[in-house]
């Protein structure tokens, strides 16, 4: 069980762990690329041209695709789309999980029972397959996709938040505040929510990772708004030409960019969880401190 403790400095723990450090560096790199893509890109990523399937050259660093778009520019612009999905799904899923999980724990009774039943049932259903089916009908753009993924994957986070809130409710500090006559709202705002923060960050990172993976997966299946520059969609198109040499500068760099982003999020999530779990922290410190 994850046991957040407000006496721990999670940021310090995160930067102490080698995976955490590497993850943060990778994520910053992707972030810088996403922000400066308009300046770094040398062509309009959506602009087709007559020079199709060109090998890398000084004009086109990673060559061009089947309709003559510059792959390097598209690769840079894809970072923005991926991070947007990560942030969107992360924030929205965390909000949903928190509202549902915390309210279940605080309200209790029948409301809690019904919600838990629904959550148990939703966890059994393979979410990604539901998303593929729904997306096949809806044909989502970035925003509807963020909404769709979040609305279908909040259940795991909600269960974590609920369990955490239940244990926070029983804390001595909460009891003490209650004996001083604190009302429910005050307890939630001053005592429960601040102590929930670590778990919310864990939920956020996990949701963001899942969001990136699912967006790329859907786009790879061809379910994406064709006007967006998405790494998954680029791979979808590139795979059709795998027997040509273009995979070297079209398929592989795109896949690596996507993997690096997912890796960054996975590393940060792993480091953070290690920091939150006292038993693991103790052991990992022995391992990685040296």
């Amino acid at each position: 069980m994850l046991t957040p403790n407000m006496h721990n400095n999670y940021w310090r723990e995160l930067t102490r762990n080698n995976f955490g450090k590497l993850g943060l560096v990778l994520l910053c790199l992707v972030l810088v690329i996403a922000i400066f893509a308009p300046f770094l890109a040398r062509y309009d990523p959506g602009e087709p041209s007559h020079s199709i399937l060109m090998p890398p050259s000084l004009a086109h660093w990673l060559g061009t695709n089947d309709i003559g778009q510059d792959i390097w520019s598209r690769l840079l612009c894809g970072a923005k789309n991926t991070l947007l999905v990560a942030l969107g799904v992360g924030v929205f899923t965390t909000i949903l999980s928190t509202v549902i999980g915390a309210s279940a724990a605080l309200v209790g009774g029948l409301y809690d029972k019904i919600l838990m039943r629904v959550i148990d049932a939703l966890i059994v259903i393979p979410a990604f397959i539901v998303i593929i089916l729904v997306a096949a009908y809806v044909l989502p753009n970035v925003w509807t996709l963020i909404f769709l993924i979040s609305i279908l994957t909040w259940q795991g986070g909600a269960r974590l938040v609920r369990a955490q809130t239940l244990s926070l409710k029983e804390r001595m500090s909460v009891y003490a505040a209650r004996t001083f006559g604190a009302n429910k709202l005050y307890l939630v705002i001053r005592h429960i929510i601040p102590d929930l923060n670590p778990i919310l960050f864990a939920v956020f990172i996990h949701s963001a990772t899942r969001g990136v993976f699912m967006e790329a997966g859907l786009a790879f299946l061809g379910i994406a708004d064709i006007s967006t520059v998405s790494w998954g969609l680029m791979m979808h198109h590139a795979l059709r030409f795998y027997y040509l040499d273009v995979w070297k500068w079209w398929l592989i760099p795109t896949g690596l960019a996507l993997s690096a982003t997912i890796m960054a999020l996975v590393f940060i999530g792993h480091a953070f969880e290690t920091a939150m779990d006292p038993r693991l922290r103790e052991m990992e410190q022995e391992e990685w401190q040296c």
Binding site: F19, M116, R117, V118, D120, A121, L122, I123, V124, I125, P126, F128, I129, V130, I132, L133, V134, A136, Y137, V138, R162, A163, L166, F213, A216, G217, F220, L221, G222, I223, M235, L239, Y242, Y243, W247, L251, I252, G255, L258, S259, A260, I262, M263, A264, V266, F267, H270, R279, L280, M283, E286, E287
Partner: protein
């Protein structure tokens, strides 16, 4: 005490699936008939066919009687008709399903066994160079989406090695039989299986390693060591067996993940399972196939969860008590 699994959970999950498949095409803007039958139906649409289809799905009646008609259909194994393949959906899916089951089943087995062994060995050697390198490798692997792993394998074998078949599940019209045919199928299975398993290992391995680390601190492990048992016996029989529980309990969820992974891997290797079927259906807007695949995969995953739930209560009597923790 809940010694038996909550059947209600699985019934609710099943109902959610049923209602979702029913409502989704009917809630979409546009012609519900196209949304139910797929776009291919428009090719042969005549006023007569339209009336007949409207009547068959009871689309001119209220929603609840439509639901009743739909439910009766499913009870009779009628998942609709694909106008693209010109065949009942169930027949098409049943033809593809064995290949997916073969792929998913073998990958589940292989990834579970490998991650258990890797987790046990890694946890036992905590902090040693072999543990660190295994941990780092799997963490990096964790970042690679399953379809990219598949693509890399495809490229490596297509471009450089070329010793394994890259497409399909068997050599077409080869006339092989008996052992030869099985070898042929096994050869075609290798690459998709490796790709799917590689994508699956990091999660299970990390779980196994974590549990192993905590289990090794338990007093009974020290007792076993003190008794002078061999290292292998302590590692596998005492610590390993106890550390395996989380892996067993997550089997249901992992089945879901592997099924989803198989959808992607099948596309890359043109493996003729339900994943490839889904891909083509997405391309052709063949909605009946999508609904059918979704229904069957979801039911499989729900059943797998149910079976695992049944089994692990038998394996570990503590589970029944532990689950009451949140039921109170």
């Amino acid at each position: 005490m809940r010694k038996i699994p909550e059947i209600g959970t699985y019934v609710i999950a099943f109902l959610i699936i049923l209602v979702l498949i029913f409502l989704l095409p009917r809630m979409m803007p546009g012609d519900p008939l196209t949304a139910i039958c797929g776009e291919e139906v428009l090719v042969e649409m005549t006023p007569e066919l339209r009336t007949e289809l409207l009547h068959r799905f009871a689309l001119d009646e209220p929603l609840w009687s439509q639901f009743f008609v739909y439910l009766t259909g499913i009870m009779h194994g009628d998942f609709g008709y694909s106008y693209y393949y010109n065949a009942p959906v169930l027949d098409i899916i049943l033809e593809a399903l064995p290949w997916t089951l073969l792929l998913v089943g073998s990958s589940l087995l292989l990834s579970t066994v490998l991650s258990i062994i890797m987790g046990i060995e890694s946890g036992w050697r905590r902090g040693k160079i072999s543990d660190k390198s295994l941990l780092t490798t799997t963490m990096i692997l964790n970042g690679f989406p399953n379809f990219f792993i598949g693509i890399i394998l495809l490229l490596v074998f297509a471009v450089y090695l070329g010793c394994l078949p890259l497409q399909g599940a068997k050599t077409p019209s080869s006339g092989l039989s008996g052992i030869d045919s099985m070898l042929d199928i096994a050869q075609h299975l290798v690459l998709p299986l490796i790709a799917l398993t590689l994508a699956q290992i990091p999660g299970s391995y990390l779980l196994m390693r974590n549990t192993m680390l905590t289990t090794l601190k338990e007093p009974f492990v020290r007792t076993a060591k003190a008794k002078g048992l061999s290292k292998v016996a302590v590692r596998y029989k005492h610590a390993g067996r106890n550390a395996m529980l989380p892996i067993v309990t997550t089997t249901g969820v992992r089945v879901g993940i592997i099924f989803t992974g198989a959808l992607f891997i099948e596309i890359i290797f043109s493996y003729p399972g339900v994943g490839l079927l889904t891909y083509n259906a997405l391309f052709m807007r063949d909605y009946p196939i999508l609904q059918g695949v979704f229904f069957i995969v979801a039911v499989f995953v729900i059943l797998a969860n149910f079976v695992v739930d049944l089994l692990y209560r038998k394996i570990d009597p503590r589970i029944g008590d532990a689950n009451t923790e949140y039921a109170q």
